[in-house]
Symmetry: C2
Subunit: 345 residues, 2 copies
């Protein structure tokens, strides 16, 4: 008798059940159940006695069993993202959690690594685990497998991309408007040759941000020139290379517009390799950068709050879960703002 601690402790209480509490009090489990849920149908005095005993014993109900019988909501939301290490997604998660906690729900996490097959598995697993709904940052280009019909009716909200092949709610960033505004600002400052460091056209975000760029140019009567446009996977090395290529043209751009954080960083690296004599190149980009004020480069960014995207998604989800009648699919767009980080000093 020893190891583990068979000391004189008051029983580590493997796992109390409602009946244990009830027996100690000489009442039926139902009484305990009612006291715990505080829904009435029980005398004040009895309730007090029960709650005192519950407190004393440290009893906590088993939510899994509760949910099984009542069939009610599990107060569980599945959040499926590509990669939590990306601050965009971790902030999105913060927003989702914030709203969930307010209604007593918890978040269950799933990462896909941008693999549509992994997404399917993760989603299926979350549904098996009884989530009330899913917030999904989609990986593939078709979302038919996210139809609630195929998921026990579990509601789904897409984040950062519109649904394709399925009618569900979604929350989006104003990619188009943000990009357009950034480009307009560069134009307002007199730039006429503006390079675009973009994302693949197959991505919604990539396509929208390009569209904003193109529209702003068009408004200014400037044609989009192939040689000023690069569209690749967001990767700082590729972005740097693309920027250097453009800047080496006989008529190089006088400004660059980067379609996301990775492209902005690549552009910054390219710019810092220029010699002091060369003409300056203006830079604008999507996504804010924390240390912008420490870089010796003026930078204009399209800023927005990823947490707000998460809050909006979770809100739509709860509304839909609790809607007796089905609502029309809704689409919420989170606005962007243009922020100038002027050259310091």
């Amino acid at each position: 008798m020893s190891a583990g601690g068979v000391g004189g402790r008051p029983e580590p209480e493997q796992s109390l059940t409602m009946r244990d509490v009830a027996e100690r009090l000489g009442v039926s489990p139902m009484t305990v159940s009612r006291a715990l849920r505080g829904q009435g149908g029980i005398g004040d005095e009895t309730r007090r006695r029960v709650l005192a005993e519950v407190e004393a014993l440290g009893y906590r109900p088993n939510r899994l069993a509760r949910g099984l019988r009542s069939g009610g909501p599990t107060e569980l939301v599945g959040l499926v993202v590509t990669n939590l290490a990306n601050p965009f997604y971790s902030q999105l998660a913060v927003g989702v959690e914030e709203i969930c906690v307010r209604s007593g729900a918890r978040v269950m996490l799933g990462s896909t690594g941008e693999d549509p097959a992994a997404e399917r598995e993760v989603v299926a697993d979350l549904v098996e685990r009884g989530v009330d709904g899913l917030v999904v940052v989609p990986s593939g280009h078709d979302h038919a497998h996210l139809a609630p019909d195929r998921l026990r009716g579990t509601p789904v909200v897409l984040a950062a991309g519109p649904p394709v092949g399925v009618d569900v709610d979604c929350v989006l960033v104003d990619d188009f408007g943000g990009s357009r505004d950034a480009c307009r600002r560069l134009l307002a400052r007199g730039h006429r040759r503006i390079g675009f460091l973009g994302l693949p056209p197959s991505l919604w975000t990539g396509s929208e941000r390009f569209r904003g760029y193109a529209l702003a140019l068009e408004e200014a009567g400037i044609p989009v020139a192939e040689r000023y446009v690069s569209r690749h996977r967001g990767d700082t090395a590729l972005a740097e290379e693309a920027a250097l290529g453009m800047l080496a043209l006989p008529d190089p751009p006088t400004a660059l517009l980067a379609a996301n954080n990775r492209n902005t960083v690549g552009a910054l690296r390219a710019l810092r390799r220029r010699s002091p004599g060369e003409p300056p190149v203006a830079l604008a980009g999507f996504d804010d950068i924390e240390l912008a004020d420490l870089l010796n480069v003026p930078l204009t960014v399209v800023s927005y709050d990823p947490a707000e995207l998460g809050r909006a998604a979770a809100t739509l989800l709860f509304e839909r879960r609790d809607a007796p009648a089905a609502l029309q699919p809704r689409r919420v767009t989170v606005p962007t703002t243009l922020v100038d980080h002027p050259t310091p000093r």
Copy 2:
């Protein structure tokens, strides 16, 4: 028909049960159960038929019900952090999830905002929801409430801080060694007056990083001077102010050691406010900074992998969960490396 879809679809299948599948096949639910779990005790031909029907119907078992009866593991891990928006914690989460997924487990999230009361609630909620174990980044200074005894026996692993008042496993960063090594490097470069921008002594991490600084100085026969030491909550503004204060001393430090990312950023802001004529100040700090190469300041950082911390934590957790006999509480320390970001160009 139209709206909503009252068309001729094959029933959206509210929620199939094992019996539905069984009835369609004219077998008992047990047969379906056995086929699904693939544990044998069933004929090959029967299993095939069952699985085919399951596939056809798109039936998925209800894991909550499964766990209720079998009492086995839920394959659910609770992760409790202070704030997911902090990249340290989101990377930790990535590490935890990575290990969990390998054993078919999922992560349930809880944020505390560094509030010990919130931590208690979150932990209790996760336990009620039947997690197999918890990875907790502790908020308070005493962890007695995290004793598995009080949590239905749910195992706990502490991350980024050692247990106080309770015997559980933990994973730590080598705060002491990393800080010591950084300080040693500054000393090796000839610095004798080294300022320390630190965290509150009440934090484990704060105290350990200070200890490393103090030890390195002691080794070099240099006393720790009050006026070169600042210890406050990690906040860039406070750090900047503290750094400016030190640099304004009659005998200012020639180097600064920042105890975390926030302090490093504050120090960088302080340094950039100096005029070109003033003597340069060296800077070293805990935590790497992505754009270090774009700052025009040489920077030495103590780098480590937060995801590794998460992987280690989850691994300890599963080992303990599956250990038939209780193991001794273990402590894993993740190493740090010193990285130089030389002045570019």
